[in-house]
Symmetry: C2
């Protein structure tokens, strides 16, 4: 204990740390990863993991706390002292992205359930069709985005998911959701907001 002055990490602490790091990777690769998988991946025996964290849930909880904490700090730091909303948003996104980039692979994979995985897989043809339309729009100059067409297709897909959640949470009326979705998707593709609104209104009668 006396040696535990500044900077020194007992091997126990190092183990704890490594377990957390590995667990993050492992759990987000497969949200149902067992304690054994995690332990082995960390080069340790299952029993040892239980020595540091009383239960599976405790481990996960610690993990989530750490990730959210750092992300929260980055987000706040990105927009401090900026009064223009646009610049504020831009700075936040850039700041968050730095971290998100570390968790990128993890977060994206955590999102994917086994169920969802299968769905997205078979949805590939639809996504490709969408990509085709987007590419044509970009080529013709109707759309405008720094993203290549396939990436834009990903964005559109996720935007619909986000809107569904918004409706589920009562943030948007179900009746208007379709129109809002269409307008927002077009806007994200670079179509001026006014044009997008007008076009959708016309289509929707």
């Amino acid at each position: 204990m006396a040696s535990m002055t500044t900077g020194t990490t007992s091997r126990a602490d190092a183990n704890r740390r490594r377990i957390l790091d590995v667990a993050l990777a492992e759990l987000l690769r497969d949200p149902d990863a067992s304690m054994d998988q995690i332990a082995r991946a960390a080069g340790v025996v299952r029993r040892t993991v239980y020595g540091h964290f009383p239960s599976r849930e405790a481990l996960i909880s610690t993990l989530v706390d750490e990730a959210v904490e750092s992300l929260s700090v980055a987000h706040a730091a990105g927009r401090e002292g900026v009064e223009d909303p646009a610049e504020s948003v831009a700075r936040s996104v850039l700041a968050v992205w730095e971290l998100a980039d570390r968790y990128r692979l993890l977060i994206a994979l955590a999102q994917r359930t086994v169920t969802m995985q299968g769905i997205r897989e078979r949805l590939a043809p639809v996504r490709e069709a969408a990509t085709g339309v987007l590419r044509r729009g970009l080529d013709e100059g109707v759309f405008s985005s720094p993203l290549p067409a396939p990436a834009l297709a990903y964005v559109h897909e996720q935007m619909l998911v986000a809107l569904m959640e918004a409706v589920n949470d009562g943030l948007v009326a179900a009746r208007e959701a379709g129109r809002c979705a269409a307008v927002t998707v077009l806007t994200a593709a670079g179509v001026p907001a006014s044009e997008a609104t007008e076009l959708v209104a016309k289509l929707n009668d």
Copy 2:
């Protein structure tokens, strides 16, 4: 068998149908729902489910095929015979939304892992901060969207996730991803594409 002419569904078929319907709801409420949960929810015994589907995986597979099929049809139908990309996209989204609305609750929940659930929960403060900035932007007229600020926050969050996936899949270079993310988020909020690009370029040096 002779009675199985048009329109008549044997009770077995009706059961199969109901099992599929209930399974969809149940599985997407909890991707790890057991066969027993599904069976009971369908008012049937577990053994009966196995009578219709040889395994859990077979059931899920059937389910996914059905959903994707109908969605695919809607997406194609929405854009047939339309040559303007913008209108094409708008029509597709509106068409898909009709169905998506049915699966809305399901898809959104399928997206959520238990792990992810915890993360989003603790991320609420960050999301609220973001909502505040967005609201100010909407009020000041810097942003323009048919969506209320909180819904727009959802969309932004999911857009980042989509971009992470795009990077993971090699559709966007990691170096540019941050800038692209910022520009796309701003654009989706209704900031003209040119302004968004310029602002981000300036911030990024």
